[in-house]
Symmetry: C2
Subunit: 256 residues, 2 copies
């Protein structure tokens, strides 16, 4: 049963890319077949997993403009059992070019249909913007996973995000659900972190993951080596947290 998960939050720097890379790697270690989709013009996920984005001839940009198929741009085995559809910095042009096309929100879904069936999980890394790229992710995915940084601005964007999910449910994809809210950058020595955690659990009791991703410098260092923390330093807090998240995700049922 293929699970398609959009990793989304219009707030910047909350750990979307870090979650895509590390959750993907940990699911791969559990022998799940994972497809990572880098939908961000910053191409951070592609860089994180060691793809040399500058040298790519073709990327998700060409796929979204329907000049290449998903199989033609696939970067296989970036981690064990994990493939990637890489991004490229010129994807920023896609937002304009896509906005004039008929059925512009359906392009990702249409293009992924065939290849997605080969995987247990498709994880889509979204940019910090509720624009046409994120809407394409929402039109394809059945689950939205929202990393939320345990600091003051944590919940500000949730209402807008939920409204966007509702609009997509109504008009484009009735299978989409807000599935899991993942606390990130948790720091138990910092009272602000604990307070944000309490507020989150109170506001979204059914959606908050049991796993919290702690602030851990190994998660910030591992991209420099093209690795996830679980390969870079398996004993690190970051590796353990994402391993626990992968186990929780496998058993997770999106709340109704």
């Amino acid at each position: 049963m293929m699970r398609s998960i959009a990793i989304v939050n219009q707030k910047g720097g909350v750990g979307k890319t870090t979650t895509a890379a590390n959750l993907g790697a940990c699911l791969g270690k559990m022998k799940k077949k994972v497809l990572l989709v880098d939908l961000d013009p910053q191409a951070n996920l592609s860089l994180h997993v060691g793809v040399n984005v500058i040298d790519l001839d073709f990327s998700i940009y060409d796929f979204l403009l329907e000049r290449k198929t998903a199989s033609e741009i696939l970067a296989p085995s970036v981690f064990p059992n994990v493939d990637l559809l890489p991004s490229h910095l010129n994807l920023s042009a896609a937002e304009f070019e896509l906005s004039y096309k008929v059925g512009r929100e359906q392009i990702l879904k249409t293009g992924l249909k065939k290849i997605a069936a080969n995987y247990d999980f498709v994880l889509i890394d979204c940019p910090p913007h509720l624009g046409i790229l994120t809407i394409n992710a929402f039109t394809f995915a059945t689950e939205a996973l929202v990393p939320v940084q345990m600091e003051f601005f944590a919940l500000v964007g949730m209402q807008k995000l939920e409204e966007t999910i509702e609009i997509v449910q109504k008009r484009l994809n009735k299978k989409l659900k807000l599935s899991m809210i993942l606390p990130t950058f948790y720091d138990k020595r910092v009272s602000l972190s604990g307070e944000a955690m309490k507020l989150l659990r109170k506001s979204y009791p059914k959606h908050v993951a049991r796993t919290k991703i702690g602030r851990n410098v190994k998660l910030a260092e591992s991209p420099a080596f093209g690795k996830a923390a679980v390969d870079f330093m398996p004993s690190s807090r970051g590796a353990k947290d994402y391993t626990a998240l992968a186990r929780e995700i496998v058993k997770w049922k999106a709340p109704c």
Copy 2:
């Protein structure tokens, strides 16, 4: 001589809002008259300075749709000598609505002309997206200040940012310059931070500020009190770093 500064980086969570609020507060302490402009649909800057965004009747959204003037939406004295043009969560609709208007990149500049003359500094907080809101900021401002997080992905977006600045210079605002690159989240105990710093100084020798903003939890805590660090805890590292930045900014000349 009014200085107009767009605080910009399409990478998320690098400290744009934190810089707008804290640099603004510190310039205000130096008796400079400062106008903060919150151009982010997340309205984080407005929340940071204690404005209750939910209860606002009018915001920068109405100003950009030309239904209200800047003076009509102004929130005066959010800090000593610091006024604010607040945002609102419905600003996310503006990106679509603005994209069809004639001269859509000039709306901010046209609307700010009169009021900006009353200030020494106009600081514009931009969302993590090189879209119509950021382009409006670029069309008005003469300086771009780019906070850059001292971690792996720091410089990925700089090329795109510089290309965007060049296009705006050519077609919309020949006075715009890449003025200052500000290292943020600097952590001297972390070797990754030092390496990112070296790479930054090597790539942009004339643009990197002498001041580095260190990682300091007081900067993350102060928004919960509607304050800048310099009012919340003047002895903190965060307060000292932004005070040093304000002094450097006052003497700063954008490199040619």
